[in-house]
Subunit: 332 residues, 2 copies
């Protein structure tokens, strides 16, 4: 592997000039730059990132802290992040927390230990105060997605509004007994802020319509768990005719259960979800959309700008959800 000294020698300049020519920082005579560039190409030179990083303090990588990658939300988000990162010539280092937050502390300490990234994107789980100040003290800017944290720039779907939108849609069609099926608080009380907010949106909409919210049904936030719970729910004689599911995955489980039981959607049962999951269209599922892929890109762009010129901005941006009417809902 050629090193910069080889390039410099071949171009007949000093290491410093070669470095300047290669990096574009500092001024170099045009002719000189061309010579250096040509020499570098000839030698197939590639700067050692470790050396660059040691000298500059920059790594050229950003970290992503996320739970359960094998999930529609996170994987789609990751896709957006990866695309934007590529465009900005940044590596992305992935830290998967799995379900629940057992590994959280360990992961956090570990990636901190290595000063391996220039910035951090945290998703779904809010950063704790301690983590935020820790990050700040070692100078890694952080942003949060999906759940904010004080002192950190964040973007997040207006989950409460999403719940309200979905519920109001059902209400406007004359439904009154609307059941809310929520993503679990089972795993960890502190984690599923989004789900709790969607529930609150539901409750608010119900009360605004003069109705008493019904108790939220909870289980693991997977299509599977939803399916088996829905089987029970829909078998009951006074089964609901309208359901607001906290996520599309849950909604899909309900739809599948309805099919199994021979219920006709939307005539026997109306269902609204949240997400606009990749399968939502095939399920003909009415839902409230969010676009994690676009969010991922947006966040990376912000981070890149902030890295170049720290803004100290810690705004908490709420993203407006949008109802996507499809065929899983009918008038009461």
């Amino acid at each position: 592997m050629a090193v910069i000294d080889d390039v410099a020698r071949l171009a007949g300049v000093s290491k410093a000039t070669a470095s300047r020519a290669l990096s574009g920082r500092g001024s170099v005579a045009d002719a000189t730059r061309q010579r250096v560039l040509k020499a570098a190409a000839a030698l197939d030179f590639r700067a050692s990132p470790a050396a660059v990083s040691l000298a500059t303090g920059r790594t050229g990588a950003i970290g992503v802290l996320a739970p359960a990658i094998d999930t529609w939300y996170v994987s789609t988000l990751l896709r957006g992040i990866a695309e934007a990162a590529l465009a900005h010539d940044l590596d992305i280092v992935l830290y998967d927390l799995g379900r629940g937050a057992a590994m959280r502390e360990r992961v956090f300490e570990r990636f901190l230990q290595r000063h391996h990234i220039d910035a951090l994107i945290s998703t779904t789980f809010a950063l704790t105060h301690r983590e935020v100040s820790r990050l700040a003290s070692i100078g890694i800017p952080a942003v949060a997605l999906g759940d904010g944290a004080a002192g950190v720039r964040s973007w997040c779907l207006d989950d409460e509004r999403a719940g309200t939108l979905a519920t109001e849609h059902l209400l406007s069609l004359g439904h009154r007994r609307i059941v809310h099926v929520g993503g679990s608080t089972v795993l960890d009380e502190s984690l599923f802020a989004a789900e709790r907010l969607r529930e609150r949106g539901y409750q608010r909409a119900m009360r605004a319509a003069g109705l008493e919210p019904m108790p939220t049904l909870l289980h693991d936030p997977t299509a599977d768990a939803s399916y088996s719970h829905a089987l029970e729910l829909l078998r009951s004689p006074d089964r609901p005719r309208a359901v607001f599911a906290a996520t599309d995955e849950i909604a899909m489980g309900i739809l599948l259960a309805a099919r199994t039981l021979g219920l006709r959607v939307p005539f026997d049962l109306s269902v609204v979800g949240v997400d606009d999951h990749a399968y939502a269209a095939a399920f003909d599922l009415t839902t409230v959309r969010q676009d994690p892929r676009e969010h991922g890109e947006r966040v990376v762009d912000w981070l890149v700008a902030d890295l170049a010129a720290p803004s100290g901005d810690t705004t908490h941006t709420l993203i407006d959800p949008e109802l996507v009417p499809r065929g899983s809902v009918a008038p009461a």
Copy 2:
């Protein structure tokens, strides 16, 4: 941030001794080691990965090259890789190729440029000869998953056998007109080796049963595309009664289309998929299982061992698929 010199000073030893004590390499008197460790803890010392990397040539990270992260196979695999990586105290650097391989060259050059990783895991797309030799020449060991490459250790589902298994299952139940719906070769001829092998397995099983394989139907490998194509297919008067879908996602699209058209599965239509996707159980879909999560862990373990003691092993391991009978199939 404390550096090793601070630790050494606090412990009253030299940098060299501190380094030895901290890394465990080289012998240090027990009492000395304790003192160093205590000093390091007191100072909250963390070695700079850039410096370590520069000095040792190791980065402590492995790269993952994958298409379309927002896909069941890749995201599940990634989950397994991330878990194993955490266990081995390795970072994982993610390179998303998106759909198709447009970014491929760029990504490849880019991660090569930075000698940012100790090893590479490549998925789905086979590495080209040029890439393999390139990797070898700069000394990054690579493994492949999902599609092998000459000169590289690889693991991969026996896709042809998967196709055969699925088809034979249908045949054994008396079906004769079995249609195969395949993941697209539409995107890029050279990429979807797995799909082509599954098709071949189907054809082989048909011929072995004395039947002429029917032409494979192709479209984008998403549930959505599958849904709309299946709508057409199943509306036709001589619609098939048995379908072998190349992936569960495709199978799910077909199942949804059947529901839309009022066909009863499995009585009017039998469907078999491949993958054992997270939703397969909820769809009650008979399928051929593969377990990418487990594969991910296995591959990382191998890589870690190989990093410690290079084996030169370039075996191509075929993973045996397994039929998972569920309710989407009935006798003809």
